[in-house]
């Protein structure tokens, strides 16, 4: 192997990935065992499908965090013309799309249990889907631009314009009636449920940073090969 690449490949999986792995295992235990089963207020039956909240909410949180990182990094790409910020923006967008997909899929499964349909054209679901579409298009744009300098510029412009739509996405939730469960965390959520949820959010955040760091290393490796 090329001597220049050795230090890069040997550090592709740093300690943070192991830490994130342990945290994710604990998050599964917290969501499935530690947190009590919710009870349906109307029927008094146990509401097991609600446990998907411990993976749905953190996935949605990570997708928004990742898209915000892409937005900030994109501003810095245009301001400083730095390759590193461009790598960060792309890596974060890729992870954001992954977690947004997870949020949509887990939300759909939760919706099946809650509303008895796989998909509802609810304002929040629809706007999250629009966000997912936007950042998927961002990745398509990056792939279809040949020059890396131009790809960085175009990607940054698209990410900034796309993120500017986010306030309108959230405004639409207030403008239209929504069937989405509102204020679950602020409302009558059991303290143990809240603890499990916050732990899961922390574990997912750790996983996000571990994946981001790994993806940045892969990008550095790719550039070193080129």
């Amino acid at each position: 192997m090329n001597e220049k690449l050795k230090p890069l490949t040997s550090r592709c999986f740093g300690p943070e990935i192991w830490l994130a792995g342990i945290a994710m295992h604990l998050a599964v235990l917290a969501g499935l065992i530690y947190a009590p089963t919710a009870v349906d207020g109307a029927t008094g039956k146990l509401y097991h499908v609600q446990r998907i909240m411990y993976f749905h909410v953190p996935s949605a949180w990570i997708s928004f965090l990742a898209f915000f990182v892409t937005f900030m990094a994109s501003i810095l790409v245009l301001a400083k013309r730095s390759e590193w910020w461009d790598c960060l923006a792309t890596a974060s967008a890729e992870i954001g799309v992954l977690f947004c997909t997870l949020a949509l899929v887990t939300g759909s499964i939760w919706g099946r249990g809650h509303w008895e349909v796989w998909w509802v054209w609810d304002a929040r679901l629809t706007t999250t889907f629009i966000l997912w579409l936007m950042y998927t298009v961002y990745l398509v744009l990056r792939m279809s631009t040949e020059s890396s300098e131009r790809s960085a510029r175009f990607g940054a412009v698209f990410a900034i314009v796309g993120f500017a739509v986010v306030p309108l996405v959230f405004a639409s939730v207030k403008l239209w009636e929504t069937q989405h469960p509102k204020g679950m965390v602020r409302g009558g959520l059991d303290p143990k449920m809240l603890q499990a949820l916050l732990f899961c959010v922390g574990a997912f955040t750790l996983l996000y940073f571990a994946l981001l760091r790994g993806r940045l290393r892969v990008e550095r490796l790719r550039k070193a090969i080129q």
């Binding site: 629009i130 279809s144 900034i160 309108l168």
Partner: protein, 223 residues
């Protein structure tokens, strides 16, 4: 020459070009009419009232026909290196953005106005509603044109060129199209919505996206 005068001249140049060539306008109007015919066969035979499908049909038609106009916006400047000439203009690049956005807005609005009038007549909608439908259409298209100007220039620099334009523009303008449809539905008498609220949402979208697009346009047309 002031910034405003330069942008105005650029917009007038584009409008004059369109009046003489009549390429985009003719294509947009014919395309819109074809889409309307398709919507008639898709919904009327199912017994759907025109008022029910009009908001969706109109905004889908406006959006898709706008893509034709937006795709041509910068491709015409590629001939004989006109784009390089524009970039040499001793003004800020935002002048090109403003001129192009206004020029394309006028073209798209002209085509959409013809479509709107024909749609109202052909589907026997109340003619008086045109007084409200028209400003709503103008507001909606202004936002679409602002975003479209940036992405039209950007799509020329990609491998897929204008094929990529609808893919880039549609996800970003989706909220505007939804606001447009809900406003149109309210104008046509569907209960539960607010005309003023819909209009305000479209104004906000147009203001935010025009500002952001103007700020980033400089980074799209570098070379």
């Amino acid at each position: 020459m002031t910034w405003l005068a330069a942008a105005f001249h650029l917009a007038v140049k584009d409008i004059r070009h369109e009046i003489r060539a009549r390429e985009a306008l003719a294509s947009m109007v014919v395309f819109s009419l074809l889409v309307i015919v398709l919507f008639h066969f898709a919904f009327s035979d199912l017994g759907a009232d025109a008022v029910v499908f009009a908001p969706g049909a109109l905004w889908v038609t406006f959006t898709f026909s706008a893509m034709i106009g937006l795709a041509r916006m910068f491709s015409v400047e590629e001939i004989n290196g006109c784009l390089r000439g524009l970039l040499l203009c001793p003004h800020d690049r935002s002048v090109i953005f403003a001129g192009k956005a206004v020029g394309s807005s006028v073209t798209v609005c002209t085509a959409s106005t013809i479509t709107l009038v024909l749609f109202v007549v052909m589907f026997n909608l109340p003619l008086g509603r045109l007084l409200l439908l028209w400003p709503a259409m103008i507001l909606g298209i202004a936002g679409v044109a602002a975003v479209g100007t940036v992405f039209s220039a950007m799509s020329l620099g990609t491998r897929m060129r204008q094929t990529l334009l609808p893919v880039l523009v549609l996800p970003v303008i989706l909220p505007q199209v939804i606001f447009g449809m809900s406003t149109t539905a309210s104008i046509l008498g569907r209960p539960g919505g607010s005309i003023a609220g819909g209009m305000l949402a479209m104004v906000c979208f147009t203001a935010i996206l025009t500002t952001v697009s103007m700020l980033v346009f400089d980074h799209v047309v570098v070379e």
